[in-house]
């Protein structure tokens, strides 16, 4: 099967609709959330129509089917990431998964491998999404640990020149993004993971912008935890994933407390089920988990490498077309070896909000602002950027429309 985005688009019903009085939808905002193929939408509906019951909570047929659906989705996710089934914890999104880690680490008693004491260090970077920054700020406040970070170079890469002074023997946690949602930069993990493990620290990967777009194997990367969101991976809203090494999940204290995560409960105390169950109290987001399983199978069938190659083609083309435009400045690396398919830029004096609005009027959906990475946009010296982000259903024609739209906007606001 050759990769053809025009064929793929047919799987996504939203491309049948029109924008702003009849215009073609040019969706360049998959970095915020992806569109969904019919198979995913139908999987959720089908669950409700035929198998809906509280998983892990009943001996009746519907409950059995719901449990089976939920647990098969777990093994799909595990296979997709190259992990084990019991290493997959379902959350509502990556944000929850990262907060789970920060809270659970903060609750780890002395003696636990995760225990943080005053003076221990937690390392992030200036290019983190707020979801991988603020939870660690808060953890540092709660524990007296020190938050440190890698700076970002003017061309939008992590500055690793002082890696040994950023990640030190006092470092306990290193939490970094795989790919920047603003700059598109893909970070050089091998070096970072090695240094992290050399000092005996734990490596947490925010894979929100990588898992949907390229082959990612937790085993090959040798990382300790990974998070991603279903809704950015052609999956449903309301479901995210935390993957963790089995041995570490076993030691990590639970985060949310409630039903079905317990081993025993008295009025004064409780003990916990083994992972992943101890991290999943409450009736699960079953339909969404089932939808996510179908979404990942859909991506696998198309091929993660094929998707990545396609995005590379699109991104390269976009960068070359955008660079032709006067006053347009790309914020982030332009070397394809260093980046994925999210391209941020500024356009002279024209404010991203105005540009975005103008493009929207032509049916082109981009995102504008600080993209939930405010320290990064400040560091890059811009108040805001316009971001076009790509996925398997985008075409070169989408890029042509974008470039034309940007030029038209320039005329409009001249």
């Amino acid at each position: 099967m050759t990769f053809d985005p025009l064929v793929i688009r047919k799987d996504f019903p939203i491309f049948d609709r029109k924008i702003r009085d009849g215009k073609r939808l040019v969706y360049l905002d998959s970095g915020a959330t992806s569109q969904k193929p019919s198979v995913v939408i139908d999987a959720e509906s089908n669950f409700y129509r035929n198998h809906n019951a509280a998983a892990h909570r009943g001996a009746h047929q519907l409950a059995e089917e719901a449990t089976e659906a939920l647990e098969s989705a777990r093994s799909v996710v595990a296979d997709f990431l190259g992990g084990a089934t019991d290493e997959i914890v379902f959350t509502k999104h990556s944000t929850e998964a990262l907060n789970l880690l920060a809270y659970s680490i903060g609750d780890s008693p002395a003696g636990n491998v995760f225990h943080l004491k005053a003076g221990d260090e937690v390392v992030v970077s200036e290019m983190e999404h707020h979801a991988n920054l603020i939870p660690w700020q808060q953890l540092a406040k709660r524990t007296g640990a020190v938050l440190k970070w890698f700076e970002v170079t003017p061309d939008g890469r992590l500055d690793l020149s002082d890696i040994e002074s950023v990640i030190t023997s006092r470092t306990k946690i290193v939490a970094l993004t795989h790919q920047s949602n603003v700059l598109g930069t893909i970070n050089p993990l091998a070096e970072l993971v090695k240094r992290t493990h050399d000092v005996g620290a734990i490596f947490i990967l925010d894979a929100c912008q990588s898992v949907p777009h390229m082959p990612v194997s937790v085993a090959a990367l040798d990382i300790d935890f990974l998070v991603f969101s279903g809704h950015k991976s052609v999956g449903p809203t309301g479901v995210g994933v935390l993957w963790g090494r089995a041995s570490l999940l076993a030691e990590l204290p639970p985060f949310l407390f409630g039903g079905s995560m317990i081993e025993n409960v008295t009025m004064l105390d409780a003990t916990w089920a083994p992972a992943p169950r101890k991290f999943e109290p409450g009736v699960p987001n079953m339909a969404q988990i089932v939808g996510l399983g179908v979404a990942l199978n859909y991506l696998t069938k198309i091929g993660m490498q094929e998707i990545h190659n396609h995005e590379n083609t699109i991104t390269k083309y976009a960068i070359s077309k955008l660079r032709e435009i006067e006053k347009l400045k790309i914020i982030g690396p332009t070397d394809m070896k260093l980046r994925g398919g999210a391209v941020s830029f500024t356009l002279g004096e024209i404010h991203p909000h105005d540009l975005g609005q103008f493009l929207d009027n032509s049916g082109i959906a981009v995102r504008t602002g600080h993209h939930c990475a405010w320290p990064l946009t400040r560091k890059m010296g811009v108040a805001a950027t316009t971001r076009a982000s790509f996925y398997l259903y985008n075409t070169l024609e989408d890029i042509d429309d974008l470039a034309d739209g940007v030029r038209d906007a320039q005329k409009y606001f001249a």
Binding site: H351, H353, D354, F358, N361, G369, W374, T377, A384
Partner: protein, 149 residues
């Protein structure tokens, strides 16, 4: 083009030639407001004399809507009694939240009526209101201060 309802000429004019965009060194109140969803920022200085707004000056970065809106605000409110300014503010806020359902009173809102089109673009309402909320905040501070004096 549909977009022209949003970007009326008055707005683009104010955007390109913003009024009172230079912070005056004397003021009764000075505020700094930010739109957290996009990072736009404004500083606004306000002077009130005997219940009359004698000066509003500002500086900031933002989109055409936010810049034009505060520029229009200064022209509209300088010289007004504070009570009248509040009534204009209320009508402007109501217009913004109307989803295009009410036309707005041109006699009261003058140039600000050109921003009526914004009310159909929910994500932009905050842009149009940024300067107005800064003004409101500054006026409360200025009045509190005058009571202390």
């Amino acid at each position: 083009m549909q977009l022209d309802n949003l970007y009326q000429e008055v707005i683009l004019d104010h955007y390109k030639h913003p009024q009172n965009k230079k912070l005056s060194p004397v003021f009764d109140a000075q505020v700094h407001h930010v739109n957290p969803s996009c990072g736009d920022e404004i500083d606004l200085n306000l002077t009130i004399n005997d219940g009359v707004i004698s000066n509003i000056s500002w500086d900031g970065v933002g989109c055409s809507i936010s810049q034009a809106s505060v520029s229009i605000l200064t022209e509209l409110l300088i010289g007004k009694k504070i009570a009248d300014a509040y009534s204009i503010l209320d009508q402007f806020v109501a217009l913004m939240q109307s989803k295009g359902a009410v036309p707005g009173d041109e006699y009261v809102l003058e140039d600000a009526i050109a921003l009526a089109g914004v009310s159909k673009y929910p994500a932009r309402i905050k842009c149009a209101l940024l300067g107005w909320m800064a003004f409101k905040d500054a006026s409360v501070q200025a009045q509190a201060k005058s009571k202390l004096d």
